[in-house]
Amino acid sequence: MSNVVTLVVNGEPQEVPAGTTVAGVIAFIAPSTRGIAVALNGGIVARSTWESTPVAAGDHIEVLTAAQGG
């Protein structure tokens, strides 16, 4: 039983401690949680459930925010 699991976060492999939640993953890469939305394996994770949603090895997580766009 490994203490570390590997996820795919925004297309890149990311190792996190086992038992990490979505909120924990965001903390790894985002300076602030403002203006951010998260998709876990193609489904939206509502902000109110970030703390209670665990991630597992192989999960695909997209962390999106506003970027310049027409």
Binding site: A37, A66, Q68, G69, G70
Partner: protein
């Protein structure tokens, strides 16, 4: 001082938007230039795309937009299917706390023109989910009507392909869309320069959206100002009721009480056949 042109407020989904010029933030060289362009444009709404968070990105686009007090309008740029666009819209709502979305579902990367059937499907689903949907659509009056009937809060027909700067390829279609629509028509895509924006308003559009024409030109701040003036000028001209187009001239100086000098002008003869001489 000339009397100002008193225009009705620009509203979408019952909300007063403000400026009739919507600005896209894509393609701007820096956040500093974007800020100056937004101020110069007087816009109330700025579009953004939803992209992967880049921790190395310099500055915060959202901070700039918040400081300027403009509404952030997320788009679904880059989506090729209804499913992808619907998911992107929902993520945008989650991230930006707005139920407004500029819905884009494109058909291919060459034209970036909307895929009408996917667009309509996505619009129906998002309207059903409580979104205020502003779809980027083709210059097709029938599709525009379909989108309106689906509950879209506006329609945003393309004047020409995104970023092309070709202007309004089919002004008749845009006029037909504007004439028939019960929701605001905002010309989107294809604007190259200020006269294109003025034309859109003269054709009956309620607003104009520009991105590349401002963000990718040599001086975005100056072009932003030019676009604002053009939108106002076109809107005022439309409201003023332009003269109908006609084939022949109509003298602006009356021939009434014209002096009888022609007979006295020795040695000069008119080239005009007698039947075409005005009397």
């Amino acid at each position: 001082m000339p009397a100002p042109f008193l225009d009705a407020p620009f509203t979408i989904a019952g909300e007063v938007v403000g400026s009739r010029l919507i600005l896209g933030s894509g393609g701007i060289p820096s956040l500093e230039v974007l800020e100056r362009a937004i101020i110069a444009s007087g816009t109330s709404v700025v579009t953004v795309a939803m992209r992967r968070l880049d921790p190395a990105a310099p500055g915060s686009l959202l901070d700039v937009l918040a400081r300027l007090g403009v509404r952030v309008l997320p788009n679904t740029a880059g989506c090729f299917t209804a499913a992808e666009a619907v998911l992107t819209a929902r993520l945008a709502r989650e991230a930006l706390e707005t139920n407004w979305v500029k819905l884009e579902v494109i058909g291919d990367e060459i034209t970036l023109l909307p895929d009408g059937s996917e667009l309509l499907r996505a619009a129906e689903e998002l309207v059903g989910d409580g979104f205020v949907v502003l779809p980027y659509t083709n210059d097709d009056p029938v599709l525009a009507r379909r989108l309106e009937h689906a509950g879209c809060a506006a329609v945003m027909p393309a004047g020409a392909p995104i970023g092309s700067g070709l202007g309004i390829g089919n002004p008749h279609a845009i006029a037909m869309i504007a004439e028939a629509a019960g929701v605001p028509v905002v010309l989107d895509a294809g604007i190259g320069t200020a006269s294109d924006a003025a034309l859109a308003m003269e054709l009956g559009c309620a607003g104009v959206m520009v991105a590349s024409a401002v963000t990718r030109c040599r001086n975005p701040e100056t072009m932003a100002r030019a676009m604002a003036l053009a939108v106002e000028a076109g809107r005022a001209a439309r409201a003023a009721g332009p003269i109908p187009r006609r084939y022949h001239a109509e003298a602006s100086s009356s021939f009434h009480n014209m002096a009888g000098l022609a007979r006295e002008a020795a040695g000069e003869t008119s080239l005009a056949p007698s039947g075409q001489r005005r009397r």
